[in-house]
């Protein structure tokens, strides 16, 4: 009996040890890097980080991007999931098609959108061949910050909406059909059914999808790097910049800690906002 009880822990032990060695330990090292300078405990790295002229813009860009991309993705993922859940045939084919961008690395996704927007890209050649413009436009130039922002939003939406949708489709599949039928019989229009029954019962999946997406949104890096270079600084890009260009591990670590704190804060916020009391669970 004793051995069967211990077995699950025994089987999980290697993975736990692995995580501790290759995640927790480096994490502690990064934290030490962030809070020390020349062996002394200090907040200097954070001061350097926040006093840099690019920092306010960096923080604002990252937040703005998350604030715009995540709601768009949420609405799109919800609509798509609702439609997909209603399909009786061809459901998996459509899921696979939607999931294609998930198979790409974010850098590849950024590069795909770069080939569309750059000066010799698809968009320009189409516009020229259609006679709408005389010569290619530099969409992603430093004068066109808004276009850069829109391009990044498009690429992010294109790349990562499917992951939310897949989670929401799975969540919707868990809601018994009878609840919708009951709502229908008791007078709820399709929209009311969505608001009063689907959304509340979907809370756990919404929570998972949003936490995942929000964390990824704060870690946005390669798509921005590919499309905007240094025109549109974001937190992760600055981390990279301080680590490899400016060779200052301490400030890079401070950035990493900041991203971590923001991610944890938003995760806790989402856990709180979308909590479901135990007795009210499905």
């Amino acid at each position: 009996m004793r051995s069967t009880k211990a077995l699950p822990y025994f089987l999980l032990a290697p993975a736990t040890v692995f995580l501790c060695v290759f995640f927790l330990y480096p994490f502690v090292l990064v934290a030490i890097d962030a809070f020390t300078k020349g062996g002394a405990v200090t907040l200097d790295n954070f001061r350097t980080m926040t006093s840099n002229w690019k920092f306010p813009e960096t923080l604002r860009n990252t937040m703005l991007l998350a604030a715009i991309v995540v709601p768009i993705q949420l609405v799109m993922a919800l609509s798509m999931a609702t439609i997909v859940s209603k399909l009786s045939a061809g459901r998996s084919a459509i899921l696979y098609i939607f999931a294609i961008p998930l198979g790409l690395s974010d850098l590849a996704a950024g590069l795909i959108w770069l080939t569309i927007f750059e000066q010799s890209g698809f968009l320009n050649s189409w516009l020229v061949s259609l006679g709408l413009i005389d010569k290619p436009i530099m969409f992603l130039g430093y004068q066109n910050k808004l276009v850069i922002f829109i391009a990044v939003v498009l690429a992010e939406v294109w790349r990562a909406t499917a992951i939310m949708m897949v989670i929401l489709v799975a969540g919707m599949g868990l809601i018994p059909k009878e609840y919708h039928e009951a709502a229908e019989v008791f007078g709820a229009s399709p929209w009311k059914r969505f608001i009063k029954v689907t959304l509340p019962l979907l809370k756990p999946s919404l929570q998972t999808a949003l936490i995942l997406r929000v964390i990824l949104a704060f870690e946005v890096f390669a798509v921005v790097a590919a499309l905007a270079g240094t025109q549109f600084p974001v937190l992760m890009g600055e981390t990279y910049h301080w680590q490899f260009t400016l060779q200052d591990r301490g400030v890079a670590a401070a950035f990493a800690m900041l991203i971590l704190v923001i991610s944890i804060a938003f995760t806790l916020l989402l856990l709180y906002l979308l909590r479901v009391p135990k007795e009210a669970r499905l």
Partner: protein, 346 residues
């Protein structure tokens, strides 16, 4: 006034025909039970009346209004689901209030109706609880209260008691009957449980393979089955059937003895309920196989010409395996069926 008329309703799922041309009228305030084995189409018919399923053809009328093209919410119905479908994210109060809120009733009216129906179903102390904190029986009560609070013209129930344990089922059955009689709504109730059907119904519609075989008051269905299926499906133990060989104008040979029957052109089938026989001289010779004392009666399973033949006899009989009993059927309880069409012969 909410009479329900089902006119020529058929439902096909691809090549499978779930319902063939159903015609049924349910009077205002009548309690109609759709009874049949699983897969007979009773739930499909109920869902068509509810609007959760669209008929392939035919019409549904409720209270003089054609409704088959309307969504469920515009039909003036309420429904009790087999798995209750009590919303887990809402309290009992909000569950009962759900339909009223959708109708945008004033808060005072909602509160009044929720409290009244909760009291009627004896769940007034549970109003602040969630579904997850309720027992099956309590959830059942919430589902019924939610339907009654709507004060609907028609209440539809899909096997509402099938998930309850036997004792609770008995209790809820009696309670449902009382509450629904008071509410003066027209009710359609789907069940596969014949005892439930008998005890609740004003009329029972017995369904078999997508057709209504008989729609009649419970005693009528029991005493005068319109078809062989009804006799074999209703009654526990079911009706006994024996071949009847034509002898003369209205004379038939059943298990070796001559019995007067109806005017028929050829061989027919003789049928008798197990409780409509007594031991006496000149009856059907039956070889006892199993004797099961049930207290009030004794169920004797016998063999007549190689066919199973059951009799419910007085519990003081002394019979044991291998004995040959002479079972005399009550003449007025004998029924006859046409072996080809399987329908009853008057």
């Amino acid at each position: 006034m909410a009479e329900i008329q089902i006119k020529g309703v058929a439902k096909r799922f691809g090549a499978f025909t779930a319902l063939h041309q159903i015609d049924l009228t349910i009077a205002d305030q009548e309690f109609m039970v759709l009874l049949g084995a699983s897969g007979c189409g009773k739930t499909t018919l109920l869902r068509i009346v509810a609007g959760l399923e669209t008929p392939s053809q035919g019409e549904v009328w409720i209270g003089g209004r054609r409704v088959d093209h309307l969504p469920p919410r515009k039909r003036g119905i309420a429904m009790v689901f087999q798995n209750y479908a009590v919303f887990p994210h809402l309290t009992v109060y909000e569950n009962i209030a759900f339909g009223l809120r959708m109708q945008k009733q004033p808060q005072s009216e909602i509160d009044q109706r929720v409290r009244r129906t909760a009291e009627m179903m004896h769940i007034e102390q549970l109003l602040e609880r969630y579904s997850g904190q309720l027992s099956g029986g309590q959830r059942q009560r919430v589902a019924v209260a939610r339907a009654l609070a709507m004060e609907p013209d028609v209440i539809l129930m899909d096997e509402p008691l099938s998930n309850l344990d036997a004792l609770l089922r008995l209790e809820m059955r009696a309670e449902l009957k009382g509450v629904l009689a008071d509410s003066k709504t027209t009710a359609i109730y789907v069940t596969h449980d014949q005892v439930e059907a008998m005890s609740l119904a004003d009329r029972i519609a017995v369904m078999h393979q997508g057709r209504i075989v008989q729609a009649a008051p419970p005693v009528e269905v029991y005493r005068n089955p319109a078809a062989r299926f009804v006799g074999s499906f209703i009654g526990n133990p079911p009706m006994n059937f024996l071949p009847a060989k034509k002898l003369g104008a209205d004379q038939f040979i059943v298990a070796g003895s001559a019995i007067k029957g109806p005017n028929a052109s050829g061989d027919i089938e003789f049928a008798i309920r197990p409780e409509d026989m007594a031991i006496g001289p000149g009856g059907i010779p039956a070889t006892v196989r199993v004797v099961e004392p049930l207290g009030a009666h004794t169920l004797v399973t016998t063999d007549v010409d190689g066919k199973i033949f059951r009799a419910v006899l007085d519990s003081n009989i002394e019979a044991s395996c291998g004995d040959i009993l002479s079972l005399v059927p009550r003449a007025d309880r004998i029924r006859w069926f046409d072996p080809q069409s399987t329908s009853a012969i008057q």
